[in-house]
């Protein structure tokens, strides 16, 4: 067992080296990353892709399951996104191109949900989702846009030939987006009640006026306080974005 544990620790260290430890700086936006793996290795995957046209793509994904098996899914997705530069088009086209590659390289009962966000000039953003919570959009006054699951497609790995829609938004200065994995909203109290998306939205509304990193820190604190144990059951990843110019 000691050898197995040591190998897990080595695997975790290798995985950490593959994942960005901080969000990049990007003109016109402030970005903030929080990453809380619950096990030694994780099924959450986040990454940033500077594009030749000056835009920045953000991917946040969540592999099914936990631990080493889920970590294999993250590595597979990372390999696909990093080695096929021509995949990176508009978000819907990108996920539509990723889908058959991921499908072909994973087994039948494993999948990954993910959201692909593209940040452009003057607040122009677009996103596509594969079975993943769409970005939460928050105005500077704390108004949280209702989530529309209509554009959300199948999780990746469930179909080789499935399409994904691209949603385009124009953010005002001060508007924020929150990408997150479900470990944040599915954290549970002892009586089984989840933190839930409604509490997340309430938290986002109430924290609209605090600086972005503080908002992320307090959201995590709210979810931890809900659970009381201070230890998430599932990995948690947050990428928060604010248009600043």
């Amino acid at each position: 067992m000691r050898t197995a544990r040591r190998e897990q620790v080595i695997l975790a260290a290798a995985q950490r080296r593959l994942l960005p430890q901080a969000a990049p700086e990007f003109p016109g936006y402030e970005l903030c990353l929080a990453y809380r793996p619950t096990r030694v290795v994780t099924g959450d995957y986040h990454d940033f892709f500077p594009r030749p046209d000056g835009r920045l793509a953000v991917f946040v994904g969540d592999g099914s399951g936990h631990g080493p098996v889920a970590s294999m899914l993250t590595t597979t997705m990372r390999t696909i996104l990093h080695t096929h530069a021509r995949l990176h088009r508009n978000p819907g086209a990108t996920l539509s191109r990723v889908a058959p590659l991921f499908y072909a390289t994973t087994v039948a009962d494993q999948f990954m949900t993910g959201v692909y966000l593209l940040l452009g000039e003057k607040g122009r953003v677009s996103w596509a989702s594969a079975g993943h919570d769409p970005p939460q959009r928050v105005s500077p006054r704390g108004e949280v846009t209702p989530v529309d699951l209509g554009p959300v497609g199948l999780p990746l790995g469930l179909s080789a030939a499935t399409g994904y829609a691209t949603v385009r938004w124009r953010l005002c200065k001060g508007e924020r987006l929150l990408l997150f994995t479900d470990g944040l909203v599915e954290t549970r109290r002892e009586d089984g009640e989840v933190f839930g998306r409604h509490r997340l939205r309430a938290g986002l509304a109430g924290l609209a006026s605090v600086p972005l990193p503080e908002m992320v820190r307090r959201l995590i604190a709210q979810a931890e306080a809900h659970q009381r144990s201070g230890q998430f059951e599932d990995d948690v990843t947050i990428v928060a974005v604010e248009r600043v110019a």
């Binding site: 889920a70 087994v107 039948a108 949900t113």
Partner: protein, 149 residues
């Protein structure tokens, strides 16, 4: 009519060719804990032994989620595995009594495109015996996981 009862499942065969499986615990996570292979998890194994092993073409399995509270992605993986088997046998899979929380997950995963869901077990039983129209109406899947349930 009862064919099997355990701490996790209650399996009935109310009529020839129809199995009804009721999950009898709100939290089945301990029975779903196999990250490597959904088919190896205890819940799938139990389901397979008592409701899926003898499934033949044209027969129906109804899964009743009325007592289930916790619905982790491992449960969804287990459902995908069941769907794969049912489709391969040219049988039908119907789900019923999803809670609003389950439905939220199904909407996010587009589960309603893959699974046929009814509000009540009675409705599912009715559809199980209402001919093969149901199978034709279920959304198409894909080559690896089958065409319909």
């Amino acid at each position: 009519m009862t064919t099997f009862k355990s701490n996790h499942l209650f399996v009935e065969r109310p009529r020839d060719g129809v199995w009804v499986v009721r999950f009898v615990r709100p939290d089945l996570r301990a029975q779903l804990d196999d990250d490597a292979n959904a088919a190896a998890c205890p819940l799938y194994q139990e389901l397979f032994e008592h409701a899926l092993a003898d499934l033949r073409e044209g027969q129906t399995v109804i899964l009743n989620f009325g007592l289930v509270e916790q619905f982790p992605t491992a449960f969804y993986r287990c459902l995908l595995k069941i769907r794969e088997l049912v489709t391969a046998r040219h049988a039908r899979l119907l789900l019923c009594r999803l809670s609003p929380e389950h439905e939220e997950i199904f909407r996010l995963f587009r589960g309603f495109d893959l699974f046929h869901v009814t509000n009540t077990e009675g409705r599912a039983l009715h559809e199980a015996t209402a001919g093969k129209e149901v199978a034709r109406r279920v959304s198409p899947g894909n080559g690896r996981k089958g065409e319909s349930c």
